[in-house]
């Protein structure tokens, strides 16, 4: 079985070949390197992983296609897709910061300020909207340079987690 993975900061998806050997054992090949892994699911969302005699306790958290892991205090976010999903997502233009970017509210809160208008050209990292949550103001920035094509955020209104705020193309 082949999966395509992308960790934060990576540009290209990396193929990972996975073969089940039975009894919680697997063989995984990444970039020509092969690992024999013993992966025991100890409870929902926790995996005890033995790789070359090293023991890792891995905690998982799923957010859509993204899989968050906590290993020895390190948090990683990995996008994992199989071949079918990869094709679908390539068509939808996701899996990259190219194309249409919808900026979503990262937490529930209140829109304090909208910093851009429809039609405005923005730079990568430029502030788009200020959302207040837990008594703190947070500026949400543009992930890419482009043009603001839609603005959903309204000053003074409450927004839920993942509410659409701005679209940059």
């Amino acid at each position: 079985m082949r999966y395509f993975t992308k960790q934060q900061g990576q540009k290209e998806a990396v193929p990972v070949d996975l073969e089940s050997l039975g009894q919680d054992r697997y063989r995984l090949t990444v970039n020509g390197k092969t690992f024999q892994v013993d992966a025991l699911s100890v409870d929902q969302g926790t995996l005890s992983l033995l790789v070359d005699g090293q023991s890792y306790n891995v905690e998982f958290e799923e957010n859509g296609d993204e899989i968050g892991t906590l290993v020895r205090g390190q948090v990683n976010r990995t996008d994992v897709a199989d071949e079918r999903k990869l094709r679908m997502r390539a068509a939808a233009g996701s899996f990259s910061v190219e194309g249409r970017q919808v900026i979503l509210a990262p937490m529930p809160g209140k829109v304090v300020k909208v910093l851009v208008k429809v039609g405005e050209e923005v730079k990568e990292g430029q502030g788009l909207v200020v959302v207040e949550a837990m008594k703190m103001e947070n500026e949400l920035k543009s992930p890419k340079a482009g043009k603001v094509t839609e603005v959903f955020a309204k000053e003074g209104t409450a927004v839920e987690n993942n509410a659409k705020l701005v679209v940059v193309e």
Binding site: V30, D82, P106
Partner: protein, 505 residues
């Protein structure tokens, strides 16, 4: 004075639970108050009684004095413990409690008044002979006067809200060029945070340490100090890590600062637990910064090294008991506290409220976790992002650091993002380990503290994520009905849909 039988805790989160625990230890009944956002909160379930006080915003619930007093009467509470924040330093509330015949577990209103407004506190301290940071003792009227004064004492300077706290209305100004804009924003922030736009000026000390002294007084004028806490690991003037003893204090300096702190408390006839905050400069000169007239977030580290229960002492002092000890106990070992926040350090510390899906709290020898959350709890959007305080004790500073790191590595919070890894980064940083970090430490080392990725762990994460996706897909394949198989689950049209179709026709 009669013994306290029932305490209303006018607060939420970890501090409400902390206070209730001691009440229970002492055989005192407890009453919780809660907002509509906190019905499921742990403090409500920990208390013997609980009453709704209003809608989620604290201004309409936890801060409504009349409503809190009404609940006190209704529940038969004879005392109120305010925790920290909310009404804990509100002199008018203390007076209202007094009028209603309810014991306020904290200092008298007059002591709060004397220390509440920072410029007044400075003036009182100068009068009492306590060293203060050079600056104005009065709020400054006009921007021209302010500019002139700033030039006189020399840049950099700090602008500070007179009624302030928590870093709001505070600006560091490097020179004349950015003075005007800093002045305007400090004033507007002070107005919106404290309803008072009075701002004063202080000389900015280079590389200062924030060292505070815990003081304690009974109603008979007996006042002691309980040693210091080093609180220089701060971000946006909010403390993140605290420890005691301070790695930069000698026994002589500790005795001297303790003496001055006691003098400061005595000057305002203080009663109960309070904290005198100082800035210590590179030459180990120390200056009074402000006094917090309440129990503080970081009180557990003092409890670790003194073996005292500060909440129990507060209750006994409010009942009119005499202090159980008359001099500062010698610090025993070393304690460190880290504040676990619902925030994402990697995304500029963006708050992360939401539902906690899973929670595993560290334990083991000499580890204490004061928390207000549980698995399944939704951290509300309305309050401070601090969700827990992890504190540890060690025989030495090295042991305490190692234990704090061990405890952090056991901590698992799922569903929301926390600063746990960032805290680990602070405790591992050479500057922290070396013990001479000043208040600019966290800002200066920001990128480094976010932590370099360990490539081996990233590789493990990649393998684990792929395995997780595979196991998930396998599970789904087993539970989903087959699309091509026989039986009734194939591509046949449901009888419900046929019925609907024929009706539409």
């Amino acid at each position: 004075m009669p013994k306290i039988r029932k305490v209303l805790v006018a607060n939420r989160g970890e501090i409400a639970i902390r206070v209730m625990r001691t009440c229970k230890d002492l055989g005192i009944a407890t009453v919780a108050v809660y907002s509509e956002a906190d019905r499921s909160a742990l403090h409500v379930r920990t208390a013997d009684q609980a009453y709704l006080v209003g809608p989620p915003p604290s201004r309409e619930s936890y801060l409504v004095q009349e409503r809190i007093l009404e609940v006190a009467k209704q529940s038969g509470a004879d005392a109120i413990h305010p925790g920290y924040g909310f009404l804990s330093e509100n002199a008018s509330f203390v007076r209202a409690c007094e009028k209603a015949g309810i014991t306020f577990i904290g200092p008298p209103a007059a002591a709060m008044d004397a220390m509440g407004e920072k410029t007044r506190a400075r003036a009182n301290m100068i009068k009492a002979g306590v060293p203060v940071v050079p600056g104005t003792t009065e709020p400054i009227g006009t921007i021209e006067e302010a500019r002139e004064y700033a030039q006189k004492i020399g840049f950099p300077i700090m602008l500070k809200a007179a009624g302030g706290g928590g870093g709001k209305g505070m600006r560091r100004v490097e020179g004349l060029g950015d003075f005007d804009s800093a002045w305007r924003s400090a004033k507007s922030e002070a107005m919106s945070s404290f309803g008072n736009d009075a701002v004063y000026i202080e000389k900015y000390l280079e590389k200062p340490h924030h060292v505070e002294i815990q003081v304690f007084a009974d109603q008979y004028g007996n006042t002691i100090h309980l040693n210091e806490r080093e609180c220089s690991a701060q971000r946006r003037h909010q403390k993140v890590v605290e420890e005691t003893p301070s790695p930069i204090l000698t026994p002589e300096l500790r005795a001297k600062m303790g003496e001055v702190a006691v003098k400061a408390a005595k000057a305002v006839n203080y009663v109960g637990a309070g904290t005198v905050e100082f800035l210590v400069d590179v030459h180990r000169n120390f200056y009074f910064l402000e006094m917090n007239t309440r129990l503080q977030v970081e009180h557990p580290v003092t409890e670790w090294v003194t073996g005292l229960d500060l909440v129990a002492m507060q209750i006994r002092a409010a009942e009119g008991e005499k202090l159980p000890l008359f001099e500062a106990p010698t610090p025993r070992g070393h304690a460190i506290e880290v504040r676990v926040y619902a925030e994402d350090p990697a995304r500029n510390f963006m708050p992360s409220p939401g539902k906690i899906h899973a929670l595993r709290v560290p334990s083991g020898p000499n580890v204490r976790d004061d928390s207000g959350v549980f698995a399944g709890f939704t951290v509300p959007n309305y309050y401070d992002p601090m969700i827990s305080k992890l504190s540890v004790w060690g025989a030495t500073r090295e042991e305490a650091i190692a234990r704090a790191k061990r405890a952090l590595s056991e901590y698992v919070v799922k569903g929301i993002t926390t600063n746990i890894r960032y805290l680990h980064g602070i405790l591992s940083h050479p500057e922290f380990v070396g013990g001479d970090y000043d208040t600019s430490f966290l800002t200066r080392q920001h990128t480094e503290l976010l932590g370099q990725e360990d490539s081996k762990l990233s590789e493990v994460a990649l393998l684990a994520s792929t395995l997780h996706a595979f196991q998930r897909d396998q599970k789904r394949a087993k539970t989903l009905p087959s699309r091509s198989g026989g039986g009734d689950s194939g591509n046949r049209i449901s009888p419900w849909r046929l019925a609907l179709k024929s009706r539409r026709r």
